[in-house]
C-alpha cells in the first residue's frame, strides 16, 4: 500500500509507465556553455538580491550572502571589556577549535609529530564528533585505481569548481588522497571492498573516473567514529559544549588561543595556545535564501566570523552549495540529505510526467539548477513540471526502485541502508516507490584563505575543513569534502605542531576585537547585531514572544 497522497500516486503511475524505456537509456550530459546558461538562469547564487558587498574587514567589497554579511558586520557577543583575558585558565601548545573531522584529524597528527597529548586541546561546541563530517553518506574520492591518476582527479576538481580553485590546494588534495585511504585502512575504517581487498568504487557527480570509496551510506559516520576513537586512544583532551567565542591575539598580532564559553554554565575560559587550528565547519544553519539544510545543528559559520576579526582573508563565499537531492516529502524529512550515491547507483531524476530532464550526475550546482528549472512555474521562467506535496513543497522524483532493478534485489537495502531506514520509518519503501527531492543547502564552498599547509597567513592561526576556502573553488564535487578535511586536517595539524615548537606567544588580548568594533562603528553597522551565532533559533514564535529573562 502506497503511503503517498492520491495526487502524488497519479504521478508515480507515470514514473512506472516510463521506467521500462528509461532503463536502457541515459540522459546526455550538458556541454559547458549550456551548463553556464542553466546556472545563470536558475542557480540561487546568480540572484543578485541574495548578496551584498562587505563594508568592513580584510575582504572589504567582496560579495557574500546577506545571512553571512549580517554575521561579519556584527559586534562581538562577548564584550571585550567585560573579561580579563591576560591570565589564561589553560595553557596548551595546540588548541583545536572544532571537534568534527578536520579538528580530530589535526589533533591526531599534531600528536603523531610529537606534541604530547596533554599539550593539545580540542574545544567543541557540541559533542566530540557532532559535525557535518558524521552525516556524510556517499563517499570519499581518491585516485587509486590503475585507470585513474591524481592528475585526472586534479582536472575533475578544477572543472567541478569552474576553474576558480587554488591550484596548490587542489594538488595537495589529490596527491595526498591515496595515502589518506591507506591511513584509514590502518585505523580500521571498514570500506566497502571485494573479498580480495579491492575497493568498490563508483562515480560521483562530475567525476571522470570511478573513485568514490564508501562505507555503505554511512561513510561519514564510519570515518568520524574511527577517528574519534583513535583520538581517545591517544588520550587527547576534549572540552565539549565549549564553543570559541573569540580568538586571542598578542602585541605582535599573533593568534595565541581563544576564549571559550561553557554553553551550559555560561562561564568563560581563556585558553592560551602557541598554535590554534580553526576547524569549525560550515554555514548550513544560516538557511541562506530560506533554504532548508542538510547540516548539523552547530553549522553557524562561527569560525569564519572569528578569523575575519583577526584579519584573515575570505574567498569564494559568494558560492553556496545546494545539494540537488534533499528530501522534499514527507514533511518530517524535508531538507535531509539523500546521498548522491543513489544517483551514482542509477536512480534517475524525473519530472511530474515521469520524464528524465537532466543527466543524473552533472556537477552539483548544474544538477540543482536543472531541478529548480523543472519546478519553477512558467511565469518565473521554469517548466512547471515539479510534483507538489499536500503542504505545498515542490520537488522532482528520484526513481529509487531502479537501483534494485539494475543492480539486483537487496542492493538498495545493503548499500543505502540509512536512506532505506529513513523512509521506511514514514511508511515509504524506496525500493518500490520513488522518493521526492529538491535542492537543499549543503556546503560552504569557500571560506578562510589558507596555503597548502593550512596556514591562514596570520602567525599562529591554521584552518582546515569546511571553514577554509580555495580547495573547491566555487563548487565542490561529491566525495571531496571528506577528503578535504583529512588532507588539510593532517596538514594543518602538522604545521600547527611545527609552529608550536618555535612560537613565542605574548600576553593574550582582545585588542583586535576592539579595533574591529571601531571599524564597525565607523561603517555605521547597527549595534544590536551580534556574532558569532553559535546556535540557530528554532524556538516557536509563540513561546519566544512571551519569553522574559528573569533568573
Amino acid at each position: 500500500m502506497s503511503s503517498y497522497p492520491k495526487e502524488m500516486q497519479e504521478s508515480i503511475a507515470r514514473v512506472e509507465a516510463t521506467r521500462p524505456a528509461r532503463l536502457s537509456t541515459k540522459f546526455p550530459r550538458l556541454p559547458l556553455p549550456e551548463q553556464e546558461t542553466l546556472l545563470k538562469g536558475f542557480h540561487p547564487d546568480y540572484r543578485p538580491e541574495g548578496k551584498r558587498r562587505l563594508r568592513v574587514g580584510p575582504s572589504w567589497g567582496e560579495s557574500v550572502p546577506h545571512e553571512l554579511a549580517d554575521l561579519l558586520e556584527a559586534y562581538p557577543l562577548l564584550d571585550p571589556k567585560a573579561v580579563d583575558v591576560s591570565r589564561p585558565d589553560l595553557d596548551v601548545d595546540v588548541l583545536i577549535i572544532g571537534g568534527g573531522g578536520a579538528g580530530t584529524v589535526a589533533a591526531i597528527w599534531a600528536h603523531e609529530v610529537g606534541i604530547p597529548a596533554e599539550r593539545i586541546l580540542i574545544a567543541t561546541k557540541l559533542r566530540h564528533g557532532d559535525s557535518n563530517s558524521i552525516m556524510a553518506q556517499g563517499g570519499i574520492q581518491a585516485a587509486d585505481r590503475p585507470e585513474d591518476s591524481p592528475a585526472i582527479h586534479y582536472l575533475d576538481v578544477l572543472g567541478g569548481g569552474h576553474f576558480t580553485n587554488d591550484p596548490k590546494l587542489v594538488r595537495a588534495l589529490v596527491e595526498d588522497a591515496p595515502a589518506i585511504i591507506r591511513w584509514h585502512e590502518d585505523l580500521g575504517v571498514m570500506y566497502d571492498k571485494a573479498p580480495d581487498g579491492t575497493m568498490a568504487e563508483i562515480h560521483g557527480g562530475g567525476t571522470s573516473r570511478r573513485r568514490m570509496h564508501s562505507c555503505k551510506d554511512y561513510t561519514g559516520l564510519e570515518i568520524m567514529r574511527v577517528l574519534r576513537d583513535e583520538a581517545r586512544s591517544r588520550g587527547i583532551p576534549v572540552l565539549e559544549f565549549s564553543p570559541a567565542v573569540e580568538l586571542l591575539t598578542d602585541s605582535q598580532s599573533q593568534v595565541v588561543g581563544a576564549v571559550l564559553w561553557n554553553l551550559e554554565t555560561g562561564e568563560y575560559a581563556v585558553v592560551r595556545a602557541k598554535a590554534t587550528v580553526l576547524a569549525t565547519g560550515g554555514w548550513g544553519r544560516l538557511h541562506i535564501q530560506g533554504f532548508p539544510t542538510t547540516n548539523h545543528y552547530g553549522a553557524t559559520a562561527d569560525g569564519v566570523v572569528l578569523a575575519y576579526r583577526v584579519g584573515a582573508k575570505l574567498r569564494d563565499l559568494d558560492a553556496v552549495q545546494y545539494h540537488p537531492t534533499g528530501a522534499a516529502y514527507p514533511d518530517q524529512l524535508v531538507g535531509l540529505l539523500i546521498t548522491e550515491k543513489v544517483r551514482g547507483m542509477d536512480a534517475q531524476p524525473l519530472n511530474r510526467l515521469g520524464e528524465a530532464f537532466v543527466h543524473p550526475l552533472e556537477p552539483r550546482d548544474v544538477e540543482s539548477a536543472a531541478f529548480i528549472r523543472e519546478c519553477l512555474p512558467p511565469e518565473r521562467g521554469g517548466r512547471g513540471l515539479g510534483v507538489v506535496t499536500p503542504t505545498g513543497m515542490v520537488g522532482v522524483w528520484l526513481d529509487t526502485p531502479m537501483v534494485d532493478i539494475i543492480h539486483g534485489k537487496g542492493t538498495f537495502q545493503r548499500a543505502l541502508s540509512s536512506i532505506y531506514r529513513m523512509y521506511i520509518r514514514f511508511g515509504i519503501d524506496p525500493t518500490v516507490e520513488p522518493i521526492l527531492v529538491y535542492p537543499t543547502l549543503h556546503y560552504q564552498n569557500g571560506g578562510v584563505v589558507i596555503d597548502e599547509h593550512g596556514w591562514t597567513g596570520i602567525p599562529g592561526l591554521y584552518a582546515a575543513g569546511e571553514v577554509e576556502g580555495g580547495v573547491h573553488g566555487k563548487n565542490r564535487l561529491m566525495g571531496n569534502s571528506l577528503l578535504d578535511y583529512n588532507v588539510f586536517g593532517r596538514r594543518a595539524g602538522i604545521a600547527a605542531a611545527g609552529w608550536a615548537k618555535r612560537a613565542a606567544p605574548g600576553t593574550p588580548t582582545l585588542a583586535h576585537v576592539e579595533r574591529y568594533v571601531g571599524e564597525l562603528r565607523a561603517a555605521g553597522i547597527p549595534p544590536e547585531r551580534k556574532a558569532p551565532l553559535l546556535l540557530p533559533e528554532y524556538r516557536g514564535e509563540k513561546a519566544l514572544a512571551r519569553m522574559v529573562d528573569l533568573l
Binding site: G129, E175, E185, K216, F241, Y538
Partner: protein, 223 residues
C-alpha cells in the same frame, strides 16, 4: 492546524501534529544544547525515551526521527556514562578473546533482548552481544555497522554493558586486521611517493585557464 498534547518531562504542551519530538520541544520554547546534534539520524545525540498514555511500555527512539503522538510522555538522555577501556589498536590482536578481555561485563548478558527492543536503528543488538562472546569479530562488525552510539541499549541493559564501545573496537579490529588491504591503494601510494605523477601535475599547474578548459573537455569519461 491539528494539535496534540505532549508532556515534556511531565509538563504538558500543545504542539502541531506531525512535528518530530525534537521540533516539538523547540516549538514549546526549549533551546536545545544537549539532546540535539545532526538532526538527521546519524549522530545519536538525541536519544529519547517515552511512554504513551494507557500503555505500560517504555519506548526508546531518536527525537529527530520520531513523530509526536498525542499523550506522549517524553524525556531525553543528555549523556550516557559508559566506560571505554584504554587501548591502542596497534597493540591488540583480532582474536576470539580480545573483546571479552577488554569488556568482561559482556559475560553478564542474560539474553533478555531489552537492548534489541531499545535500538532506534532496529539492529539485532543482542545477537551482536552473543557474537562478541563467541569472539566473532566480523559478525559483530557487520551487525553493528549502522549503530549511531545513541546509548539507549546501554542505559537499558541489566548486564551493564557499554555496547557502543564494544562495537567500535570490533569494527576497527575487523577493518584493520580481518579485511585484506586494497593492493591498488598501496601501489598508488608508492607511485605518488616515487614521484610518478609529479611532472604531469607540474604541467597542469602551469596551464592557463583556456588550456585547462580544453584539457577538461577532452578528458574521457569512464562508463
Amino acid at each position: 492546524m491539528d494539535e496534540v498534547t505532549v508532556f515534556i518531562m511531565g509538563k504538558g504542551y500543545r504542539v502541531p501534529a506531525g512535528l518530530t519530538i525534537m521540533k516539538a520541544m523547540e516549538y514549546a520554547g526549549y533551546r536545545l544544547t544537549r539532546g540535539c546534534g545532526c538532526r538527521g539520524g546519524y549522530c545519536g545525540a538525541c536519544a529519547t525515551v517515552y511512554r504513551l498514555r494507557g500503555d505500560y511500555k517504555l519506548y526508546a527512539d531518536l527525537a529527530c526521527q520520531t513523530t509526536v503522538q498525542d499523550g506522549m510522555y517524553i524525556a531525553q538522555l543528555p549523556f550516557t556514562p559508559a566506560e571505554r577501556p584504554a587501548y591502542r589498536l596497534e597493540e591488540l590482536r583480532a582474536e576470539g578473546q580480545t573483546l571479552l578481555s577488554l569488556f568482561p561485563e559482556l559475560a553478564r548478558c542474560v539474553a533478555c533482548n531489552t537492548c534489541t527492543k531499545a535500538c532506534p536503528q532496529k539492529l539485532e543488538v543482542m545477537d551482536a552481544v552473543q557474537a562478541s562472546l563467541r569472539g566473532d569479530i566480523p559478525g559483530v562488525a557487520e551487525l553493528t555497522f549502522d549503530c549511531v552510539s545513541c546509548g539507549l541499549c546501554t542505559m537499558r541493559c541489566p548486564a551493564e554493558i557499554s555496547h557502543h564501545h564494544v562495537w567500535q573496537l570490533a569494527r576497527r579490529l575487523n577493518g584493520a586486521y580481518l579485511t585484506p588491504r586494497a593492493p591498488h591503494v598501496a601501489q598508488r601510494v608508492a607511485e605518488v611517493e616515487g614521484g610518478k605523477f609529479r611532472a604531469e601535475l607540474d604541467r597542469l599547474m602551469a596551464m592557463g585557464k583556456e588550456e585547462l578548459v580544453a584539457a577538461y573537455k577532452a578528458r574521457d569519461i569512464e562508463p
